[in-house]
Amino acid sequence: MEVKLIAFGIAKDIMKGTTTGFFIDTPASILDLKNALTNKYPEFNKLQSLKFAINEDYQNDDYLLHEGDEVVIIPPVSGG
């Protein structure tokens, strides 16, 4: 299936873009996505943390992705 990845901060630099389609075998959890992503972009392994949000909420590793999901990649935040 294909999900849509939306990148912010350093994730945008690593992926060289803000949004991208990403193919992954079904079924796939957030953890599977994280593994596939760090496989493709090893730079993600160097980050302090890597989280994912769907529907404007953080999602746990075991969250199952659906075709067409918009997944926001959340590298370490630094507001304030």
Binding site: F8, A53, D57, V72, V77, S78, G79, G80
Partner: protein, 138 residues
């Protein structure tokens, strides 16, 4: 009352005060973040803040709601700026009013600590010879 703002325009301390003022408040505690002129001895030219806006607002609201339930507070105001900020400018203001000051101190400190951990806002420090996403790497 809860007052959340994510703005591209300069923040105003007075707006946060006014949002939390209350005749039954014994006091309010305000945290004002400022852009520092250096990081580990390196001169900062400016900071650029970007945000996943709808989620950032939602997470700021979660913090304010949690704080309101966890402490005996009256009002919570969280204003955050995005865009390009010069040294000395204000990226964040958090104001909390409460009948008693201890709750206001604890709630305000919890709010800024949590904001820095959960709200999807990223800042890039611009130096004279480069730039870096803050806190991205261990």
């Amino acid at each position: 009352m809860i007052d959340i703002q994510l703005s591209e325009h300069p923040l105003a301390e007075k707006a946060c005060y006014d949002a939390v003022s209350d005749p039954s408040a014994g006091g309010m505690v305000v945290f004002v973040g400022t852009v520092r002129n250096q990081t580990k001895g390196k001169k900062v030219v400016r900071l650029e803040f970007e945000s996943f806006v709808p989620m950032a607002k939602k997470e700021m609201l979660k913090i304010a709601e949690y704080v309101s339930h966890q402490w005996d507070t009256l009002h919570v105001s969280i204003h955050h700026r995005v865009g390009s900020l010069e040294v000395g400018e204000v990226p964040v203001i958090i104001a909390v009013s409460a009948p008693h000051r201890k709750a206001a101190f604890e709630a305000c400190q919890y709010a800024i600590d949590t904001l820095k951990e959960t709200v999807p806002i990223w800042k890039k420090e611009i130096f004279e010879d480069g730039e870096v996403w803050v806190a991205a790497h261990p």
